[in-house]
Amino acid sequence: MNQPLILIIEDEEALRRFLVPTLTSQRYQVLSAATASEGLAMARSHNPDLVLLDLGLPDRDGMAVLQELRSWSRKPVVILSARNQERDKVRALDQGADDYLAKPFGAAELLARLRVALRHTLQADVEDPVVCGGGLRIDLGRREVTLEGQAIKLTALDYRLLEALIRRNGKVATHGQLLAEVWGPGGAGNTHYLRIYMAMLRRKLEADPTRPKQFITEPGVGYRLDLDARGD
């Protein structure tokens, strides 16, 4: 069976030494590059299924690499960001990166993110109208939401927000993306709308809204809907 090919563009040797064997042991095919130019050349020649891209590269700005990748490929890109790059992180996500991992990250976290990102491509054409997880069942075709079998009433905006999160398929959605999808172009800048609706959605759909398990806040970035999490 053809295993997904992952391209790592990361200048730090220590991280490559950790990433390559970790991914290989999970039966991924792995390519690695230490510079932006090398990475872009490999991306063109091998057309990987996923790119792990470090934002702090020596020869070129990570953002520029992302833009170039996006100019010809829709394959998932996961950003590796250092602690002081919060703003770059959001910019990268808004410009088409699929997800991010903040350093330092553990192997389990890395593999979980890769699975989510790859699921997106591998199942892109499978349109399942029913999404379930953690006691939630959402029928996108009939616009019905049930929690533990109980039908939940959602306002139109609640539902649009929920839908936007589901479309991300477990990946993070930035404030800007959600505002644009739910409120349209006029919503930009009104992050507090989003926060208020998110709080209402949590009150309706989370067992304990002060300990969200599924509607997860990514501080300074946005939100992530993790339907696989067990809502106990």
Binding site: H192, Y197, A199, D208, P209, T210, R211, I216, T217
Partner: protein, 635 residues
């Protein structure tokens, strides 16, 4: 002795001109970077007439401008100066023309001429007397004054005629006297003299009988005219002086009051911006002119208050020397016209703090009479700026020593805290690499330890970085209005995802308003507080509550741990401070970060004993600014 270091001598006396000599000497000394000497020659017979106190004042002024002062005794001025010039090997001698008291001394026998004849090896600079500026420029005779004169004379003549007809001759003279005095006082001496003559003629032609007699041939008439002229001029002079004195007193009072007000306002100013605003306001009130402070910044100017096109101004390198050396007078405080405006150097104790630029209002020219007050203003402003600069320098020095002290504490603490986990990781990795038949469980233990210790290292480094960035201002607090619930959820949810369920009771009223906060930072405060609570009272209930109070939102994390001794409740927020009984884990940065974050939000964090045991940490966040509008069609 080299020419450049040979001194410049300035001959001082008690006259007002000495001030100009001092400034000229100062300027010359600055230009040639030479030392300079203020000299007073005591010729013995002059000492009685010359005001010794005034000499002292000039000597002090010279000293203020960096001169050495000296007083010598000699039979003549020229002798004394010549001796001193030779003795000090002076390169130049500055003196004024008016040092010679008698007019004939100027005809080839002046002190300067005599010095020249003595063939001194020094340049002799003679400052001419400045023509005394007329204090009251006589206004041209205006039409209104002529008409006024005519009217007054008519009224006087009418009155005189009436009294004359009544046979009372003695009243004629006082009537005219009063009229002419009034005219002279009101419209100037020219019209006064004219009125005197006119009154004699009028008296003659209209009142004397028989009329049309030749006025000038009649000697009592001439006497009458002369007396009239003399007495009116005398009275006018007295009245004028009285008026001048009164207005001078008023002016001084005004000067003193405005200086006092400025000084008091400046003393309260806390930064250069405030100084500039205060100065501009006072100058606008007193001089009806706009004012800016120009403070050198890099190669250009920083103009305060408000905006000013500084690019159009001469650069500091160009303008400052012009002002400091004085353009003509050599007075470092003399106002100098630059373009439409007037500039004054803001001379502090030993250097210029900047420039005061004054733009007179339209139709409100700055009269040279007000320059003295303007200079006094400039000195006050300069001293205020200097005081602030010194304060700032002292604060910087203190900060530097503080930073230095912190750095050594930091190094000591980090050294230990970094080395311990590193040693453990290094050791464990080493033994894993040894060829041995280690059991799988031992191997797992070692690997787990490596993971845990490296996590601890990462946390320590992260905390250190955060704290440094918070304290240096590298982290900008990005406040956004948001529900507290989200931050609490993010902190608690995150902790529980990593460590499993925590015994935390959350109590957040649904009525809580949106709070302006930086979510990532406040989340860290909560994580630190919850982690601490858990560490000091493992397994025991933790309460997390929030409530609103006008202008503030309070967030409390309360535990049932051993509590914190009252005398340490402030210190636990210090960097690297750990409770003596605290066990493993933690490096004493968590609470310091919490405090830095609270302060960056304009809020505060405190700890207090909790009734029933344990401690309660309270974070207060200000509800400042206007909350955003609620979403359309919501709620």
């Amino acid at each position: 002795m080299e020419a450049t270091s040979r001194p410049i001598l300035v001959a001082l006396g008690s006259e007002a001109q000495s001030l100009r000599l001092i400034h000229a000497g100062f300027r010359l000394a600055r230009e040639r970077s030479a030392p300079w000497l203020g000299v007073y020659v005591d010729t013995g017979h002059g000492a009685a007439t010359e005001d010794a106190e005034q000499v002292q004042v000039w000597m002090q002024e010279a000293q203020r401008l960096g001169a050495e002062v000296q007083s010598v005794e000699a039979p003549t001025l020229a002798q004394g100066l010549a001796d001193l010039t030779r003795r000090t090997q002076a390169q130049a001698l500055v003196l004024g023309r008016s040092r010679d008291r008698w007019p004939w001394a100027r005809l080839g026998h002046s002190t300067a001429d005599e010095l020249l004849r003595r063939g001194l090896d020094a340049e002799i600079v003679i400052l001419e007397d400045r023509p005394p500026s007329s204090r009251h420029p006589s206004p041209g005779i205006r039409l209104s004054a002529m008409v006024g004169t005519f009217l007054v004379m008519t009224v006087c003549t009418g009155l005189a005629w009436l009294t004359h007809r009544g046979g009372n001759l003695s009243l004629v003279l006082p009537v005219y006297l009063l009229g002419v005095t009034f005219i002279g006082y009101q419209w100037g001496s020219a019209l006064g003299i004219l009125a005197s003559a006119l009154s004699v003629l009028l008296y003659n032609f209209l009142l004397e009988t028989p009329r049309f007699r030749q006025a000038a041939t009649h000697w009592p008439n001439l006497l009458f005219f002369l007396l009239m002229l003399l007495s009116t001029q005398l009275m006018i002079g007295l009245l004028r002086r009285l008026r001048d004195q009164a207005s001078e007193v008023r002016r001084r009072e005004l000067h003193t009051a405005s200086l006092y007000l400025l000084g008091r306002a400046l003393a309260r100013s806390l930064d250069p911006d405030e100084v500039a605003t205060t100065a501009a306001e006072h100058i606008r009130r007193v001089f009806k002119a706009q004012a800016w402070l120009l403070i050198p910044e890099g190669d250009g100017w920083a103009a305060r208050p408000g905006s000013l096109d500084v690019a159009a101004l001469p650069t500091p390198a160009e303008l400052l020397p012009r002002l400091v050396w004085g353009e003509q007078a050599g007075d470092p405080l003399e106002p100098v016209p630059v373009g439409d405006a007037i500039c004054l150097s803001l001379m502090g104790t030993n250097r210029s703090e900047g420039v005061l630029r004054i733009l007179p209002g339209v139709g409100e020219p700055l009269h040279p009479q007000t320059w003295e007050l303007l200079k006094a203003f400039a000195v006050q402003i300069a001293l205020a700026l200097e005081r602030l600069r010194w304060l700032e320098e002292a604060r910087k020095a203190q900060l530097e020593s503080e930073t230095e002290r912190m750095r050594s504490t930091l190094l000591g603490a980090i050294g230990h805290d970094l080395r311990t986990p590193l040693a453990a990781i290094h050791g464990a990795a080493g033994s894993l690499l040894l060829p041995s038949d280690m059991s799988d469980s031992t191997r797992r233990d070692l690997l787990t330890m490596i993971q845990e210790e490296s996590e601890r290292l990462a946390q320590l480094l992260g905390n250190l970085l955060d704290l440094t960035r918070l304290e240096s201002g590298a982290i900008q607090v990005q406040k956004e209005w948001q529900p507290l619930e989200e931050v609490v959820g993010s902190a608690l949810g995150g902790l529980e995802r990593r460590q499993g369920a925590l015994p935390v009771q959350v109590e957040l009223p649904e009525s809580l308003p949106l709070v302006p906060l930086d979510a990532a930072l406040i989340e860290q405060v909560l994580v630190n507080l919850l982690t601490n609570a858990q560490r000091h009272a493992p397994g025991r209930e933790i309460d997390l509550r929030a409530w609103e109070e006008p202008g503030w939102v309070h967030l409390e994390v309360a535990d049932r741990g051993p509590g914190i001794p009252a005398n340490l409740q402030e210190r636990i927020f210090d960097k690297f401070f750990r409770l003596p009984e605290a066990g493993e884990g933690g490096v004493g940065l968590g609470l310091a970060i919490c405090r830095a974050i609270a302060q960056a939000h304009g809020g505060r964090i405190q700890v207090q004993d909790r009734p029933g045991g344990g401690s309660s940490f309270r974070l207060a966040l200000p509800l400042d600014g206007t909350p955003p509008p609620p979403p359309e069609g919501a709620l």
